[in-house]
């Protein structure tokens, strides 16, 4: 890798997560849903890596697998050099202090019967950190940091708006002083005016607490805004990985090009050359042979069905998994009628 000099916080190699598909009375396994199917990813200390893709591409599963919230089927995940997949329960618990997750669904992820103080302090309690007084102080301090009033601690999640609940989720993760946060669609459920508040907060907190983010989302503008680098996923694989600007300016993979061109921008009358992909995403139970994107790719050739293209460097640290990486597909398809 060209970035050998940088400090790798998390290193994933060949990560697979297959879910068995069961059918019939005896629940026999009839297939494997390959949610994550061989992902290599380095996350450097202090950066934000965006993970984009459409529903079912495996981005959320990958985020959770990297924290071992879901057990990987195979592969290696190293966090600060330590192999996570080999840790026993108690060692994993210790490691988890450094790795936290923030969910999209702030209603589903906060126990409605617990006060905000209990919710935010729960992690400290589980890890046996500090006495009650110290924990309460840490909680109140953290509530202030995420922009919630002190009194919020005595209230229950339902008494807050979506944006405020997302702040509670953030406080809950940050109170453990983690190094790495997987943010799984943290602003997708929020209205635009609230979304920008939470994005600004995420940026501030990262600075203040020296955090590293893996930011999982489907909204390209949001991911582009917050990320230093972006990984694009399609059917369980990373198909392109590059610095944000580079990815937006020079997308190499046909899927990335299509994704970027499909994004409706708030500019009326903007001249766009939209590449409309035909068909739907194939099933991850039985993905196409060779390149998985070939069934929808406007520039697919016979080789694409035979050989799976590796994720290879095409420019400085700009990786793409395509036999014809860099070919513009807007010329290959006629503009939409």
């Amino acid at each position: 890798m060209t970035d050998a000099g940088r400090d790798v916080l998390l290193e994933a190699r060949g990560v697979h997560k297959h879910f068995p598909v069961r059918k019939g009375l005896l629940r026999r396994t009839v297939g494997q849903l390959k949610a994550v199917d061989g992902v290599d990813l380095d996350v450097y200390r202090g950066e934000t890596v965006g993970l984009v893709g459409e529903s079912g591409c495996g981005k959320s599963t990958l985020g959770r697998t990297l924290l071992r919230l879901i057990e990987p089927t195979s592969g290696s995940i190293r966090f600060e050099g330590k192999e996570l997949t080999e840790l026993g329960a108690s060692a994993l618990k210790t490691a988890r202090r450094n790795m936290q997750i923030v969910f999209q669904d702030s209603v589903g992820s906060l126990d409605p019967r617990m006060t905000v103080k209990q919710l935010v302090g729960e992690g400290l309690k589980i890890h046996g950190l500090g006495n009650r007084k110290a924990r309460d102080a840490a909680v109140i301090e953290m509530l202030g940091r995420v922009g919630l009033p002190r009194e919020a601690g005595e209230r229950y999640p339902h008494q807050f708006s979506g944006g405020q609940r997302q702040r509670i989720g953030l406080a809950r993760s940050l109170v453990l002083q983690p190094k790495f946060i997987v943010a799984d669609e943290p602003v997708s459920a929020l209205d635009v005016s609230i979304q920008s508040q939470v994005l600004n907060l995420l940026v501030d907190l990262k600075q203040e607490f020296d955090l590293t983010y893996l930011f999982v989302a489907h909204d390209l503008a949001v991911v582009g805004y917050i990320s230093d680098r972006i990984a694009v996923m399609y059917l369980g694989k990373v198909v392109e990985l590059a610095e944000s600007d580079e990815l937006f300016d020079r997308p190499l993979h046909p899927y990335t090009q299509a994704l970027l061109s499909a994004n409706p921008e708030p500019e009326p009358g903007a001249v766009r050359r939209r590449i409309v992909l035909t068909g739907d995403v194939p099933s991850p139970i039985d993905p196409p042979s060779g390149c998985r994107f070939r069934t929808r790719c406007p520039i697919a050739q016979p080789i694409c069905a035979e050989e799976e293209p590796p994720l290879a460097a095409h420019r400085d640290a700009h990786l793409a998994a395509c036999h014809f990486a860099g070919t513009s597909i807007s010329e290959a398809v006629s503009p939409a009628a």
Binding site: E54, S193, Q195, S196, H218, Y225, P264, P266, E267
Partner: protein
């Protein structure tokens, strides 16, 4: 008048245990034949209830104020009997919803469901109706429609189901299509397909579209005119290019500034709108945006601004009283 649809002072409220929830509170707009009006707003702004009110689909405990006027093609819909209204619904005005799975009946084939609409509204026989269903499915770009006509909704993908909904909605050649967040549940590449399809069909069939959405990108791409809703009201309306280029209402302005654009980086903070949307059970007095507005001055807290002309737009803001937006020094919020 050349208007296809004119909505005047629409008020729709819901009786709740905690009081009267005034979801739509004095909304007016009009739509010309063949045009697309985007109604944009955040959750709770009243945009979906506006759409349901036009279709007269608001049920108990909801109630449309009898003084509201909804004039479609010369008829005041609020004065029609339920029977007359059901002739208009489907035939003249059709609606598609965000979640096609919940709007389709899981135990009937999609062909049957499209044919049912055709049979009901166009007095065709079953066989002719089924042929029309296949024709409609071809029109909306469903591959091998002759076969897919026998599929059940669960056998289709989300994008295909939305195509079926569109086929059903358009099967009777409506003059107006109301689309309530038609692409919100879809992935971006599938959304692009559906938006292209709607643009294409609009031209081919010459229908008008009332497009309800929270997505400013979708409005920019689809609409001729836009109505921006906030707290049960239209706060700004006008041609989409003008509203996006020169927003006259502070809410529109703040909304447009708060969304990250392609090419923006986190080193540059987003301009967030402070505070939260007010409670519909208890709208604030005066301008409803005033508590979150950077430009608010004393009058905004007491007097409710009507839509004021700021050609080519209209804006419900006291800064626009003179016919143009008066610049005001922003007072930094404490």
């Amino acid at each position: 008048m050349a208007e296809l649809l004119r909505v005047e002072s629409l008020r729709t409220s819901f009786r709740t245990p905690r009081g009267l929830l005034r979801a739509v509170d004095g909304v007016s707009f009009s739509l010309e034949p063949g045009h697309t009006l985007g109604v944009v707003g955040e959750s709770g702004s009243g945009k979906s209830v506006t759409a349901l009110s036009v279709m007269r689909l608001v049920d108990h405990p909801g109630r449309v104020d009898p003084n509201s006027r909804i004039v479609f093609d010369g008829h005041d819909l609020s004065h029609l009997s339920e029977r007359e209204m059901s002739r208009i619904r489907g035939n003249e005005i059709s609606m598609i919803f965000q979640e096609p799975m919940t709007s389709l009946n899981p135990v009937f084939t999609v062909g049957n469901q499209i044919a049912e609409a055709v049979e009901l509204h166009q007095q065709l026989r079953k066989r002719q109706a089924l042929a029309r269903a296949v024709e409609m499915m071809q029109l909306v770009g469903i591959p091998s429609a002759e076969r897919r006509v026998n599929d059940y909704p669960h056998e289709l993908s989300g994008g295909m189901r939305q195509r079926v909904m569109i086929a059903m909605a358009l099967s009777c050649n409506p003059k107006l299509l109301i689309a309530d967040e038609p692409t919100t549940a879809l992935d971006v590449t599938v959304q692009a397909q559906i938006l292209e399809l709607m643009k294409d069909l609009r031209v081919r069939l010459g229908m008008a579209i009332l497009l309800i959405t929270h997505d400013l990108g979708v409005v920019a791409e689809m609409a001729d005119e836009v109505a921006v809703m906030y707290a049960g009201r239209v706060v700004e309306r006008g041609p989409v290019a003008d509203v996006f280029a020169r927003p006259q209402h502070p809410y529109t302005e703040a909304l447009l500034r708060s969304i990250p654009r392609v090419g923006m980086r986190y080193s540059e903070p987003l301009e967030a709108i402070r505070g939260i949307v007010p409670n519909p059970l208890d709208w604030p007095p005066g301008c409803r945006f005033a508590p979150r507005c950077d430009y608010a001055f004393d009058r905004c807290a007491t007097d409710d601004p009507p839509l004021l002309a700021v050609p080519p737009q209209e804006s419900a803001c006291w800064l626009c009283e003179s016919g143009r937006r008066v610049p005001r020094v922003v007072e930094v919020a404490s």
